[in-house]
Amino acid sequence: MSSSDEEGAYESADEGATLVATETEVQIKKKTDSAAESGKTVGSKNTDKGPSHDVKQNNRTDSESEKKTVEEAENEMKTVDEMDNVNKSSDATGKNDELEKDEKKDTLDMKEPADNVITNEERAPPLSTEQKIHNTLDTLADNESVSDTCTSAASSSWGGWGSSWLSTATASVSSFTQKAGESLTTMMENVEAQMGVPAPEDIIEENKDHVQESKMSDEQKDVRSKEADPSSGSSSGDGDGGFFAAFGVTAITSVVERTVTGGIEALEKIGKKTMDVLQESDPGLRKKRKYFKEVTMGDKVNLSMLLREAKEEAERQNKEQHEEEEQKKAHFGLLFDEYQGLAHLEALEMLSNQSENKVQTVLGSLSGDDLESLKTELIEIKDAFHLDDIDENQEQLSDEEFVHAITEHLFSLSIGATPDKLKQIQTKAHDWLTLCTKDLEEKQKREPKDIHMVAIQTLAELTAKSIEQFHKASELMLLQQVKGQEKKPIERAMSLSKLTSALCSEVAVLSTKFGECLNISAEWCENPSTVNPFITNVYLEASNSASYIQDAFQLVLPILQIVAMETQNAKH
């Protein structure tokens, strides 16, 4: 028997094994599906217990009971070995079983050439064996687990091994020894790769020597084992040990140990693979569990419930959307942007930055008296831009006083700007406040939410228009003025400063009035504490508003400075 032939045979056997293994996986999938359909709890059983031990146990007893005679046991052996080859997915176990089979084959068909034996076995197994395979497959399929299949097959093979060997052990000893030697060679060749046995040829030679030497003891062993054999399957297991012990080669013992370990590992691998297949696209088997749970619980979800949930969801979304819109209506920043306050502020800032750069450039190019006189003027303007602390010496202007003040200050800029927009906002706000106060005095209910909304809208619009006013004033001041008509920059700075104070004061007046309205409205409110956040917010945004206005005012400084420089240049 050439080793290359053997390898070829093993390869084909392994291929077959892989093929059938995949088929078995498919079968399992199908089984799981059908189980799911039938609504049985098979799936959960599989998941919970994993490879079930009781099934394995059954198989073992089945196979053992079949081994009533030695002949039967031999047949069973073949079947089981076929199954082994077929079901092993790991090379180690597959090859090992092949080895065992080889050895048994050898002992069975002692007088035939070994090559023939293998070819016969591989290509044309007896019909009865095939049938048995099918039977076994069916049984295994019923048990629905690859791991189970393998476990049962493996256990049977280990159990049946000894008996088959023992049944033929009485045949020609020399022939056996020769075959055993060959088997050992095969075994060593096969295990060397995975088991890492060093220098296989040497070991084989050694083994052969050992085999020759231990012929006699073998014979004795055979007799003893034969006596023990028919009693039970468990004793056949002892036979294995006895056989190996007879050789007295520790290397083989370790190989056997490793083989067993490898086999267990392979089983574990198959078990894991099964779980992987079951859990594919279903992590934690949640879907399957849920499905079984639902099936057992009966119809859980009904249409009316779904519709009710959908309706609630829609209502909730509507409410959220409505609230969002409400919030937007009373959002200072958003409204300020909507009234183009931000855009004007950005444009004003662009002008301011450019002017600032120009001022620095001009200052850098000047020297001597020119620089000194220019510096004096620029510092004067800068001083005019210093605002007194508005909050402290705040003279509360009446409605008329405010309109009068802003008109006067804007005209004193003499740039052709009119306070129409500012006046309009202010008038509108005060009219609304008068009406609101009257309503509240007459004990008519006003929603604090609405008062708050109007307050924020008014503040945002007033702020935006104030900044627009500063922006427009800056643009107009930057235009080339008709000579002789322009005002001194320092005077403009003073006017702008007063305008800023007037605007900030108006913001304070408005916020106070809106705050008072909110306070009164709280008295008619079911839950007065809900009004407090509104009042706080009005005062907060009023302070924001004042900051925006003062920031915009400060941005005008470099613009007035550059205008002052250009005026001075024009004079020279």
Partner: protein, 216 residues
Amino acid sequence: MAAGPYNYSYIFKYIIIGDMGVGKSCLLHQFTEKKFMADCPHTIGVEFGTRIIEVSGQKIKLQIWDTAGQERFRAVTRSYYRGAAGALMVYDITRRSTYNHLSSWLTDARNLTNPNTVIFLIGNKSDLEAQRDVTYEEAKQFADENGLMFLEASAKTGDNVEDAFLETARKIYQNIQDGSLDLNAAESGVQHKPSTGGRPNPLNTDQQPSNEGCRC
């Protein structure tokens, strides 16, 4: 505010330029209000208009700067080109002088904006066909030579007005998508997700619309 008050993901800055009286403010008004403003006053410096549009499923806020066309404002309006993502350059098809000045406006637009700014040429008053002074072919050739997008439109009838604004936005959006427009660049003219991002200028970062807290 939990959800954020903004319902758009980009802000594009547009600037409308061109001679006085070509109808810049009317185009803007038609676009934002869908109405024709018959007696439009002269624009002082710059005015603003906004509208939220949708491009490729993205909501975009157009912040449009409508500049004064008067020559005396030219120095001031030049300050506003910076950071524009789109420039609408308008002439009046019934007045050849407004067409002849285009090269001067184009020079400003090229010099004062970034290279990725989309420039769209609009021949306004296309409803006044009888008084036409500039042919479509002539203007189209000028646009092609200078790599501009071009349409004739009418602020009065609204014809092509939407298209001009939207085509510009699509082109800008395309530039963002293919990476030629860097959103992080200081003067891209595009702001992304205003609820999280910020205006590029340092002063305004303090004055975000979303800023509800006390700034003091």
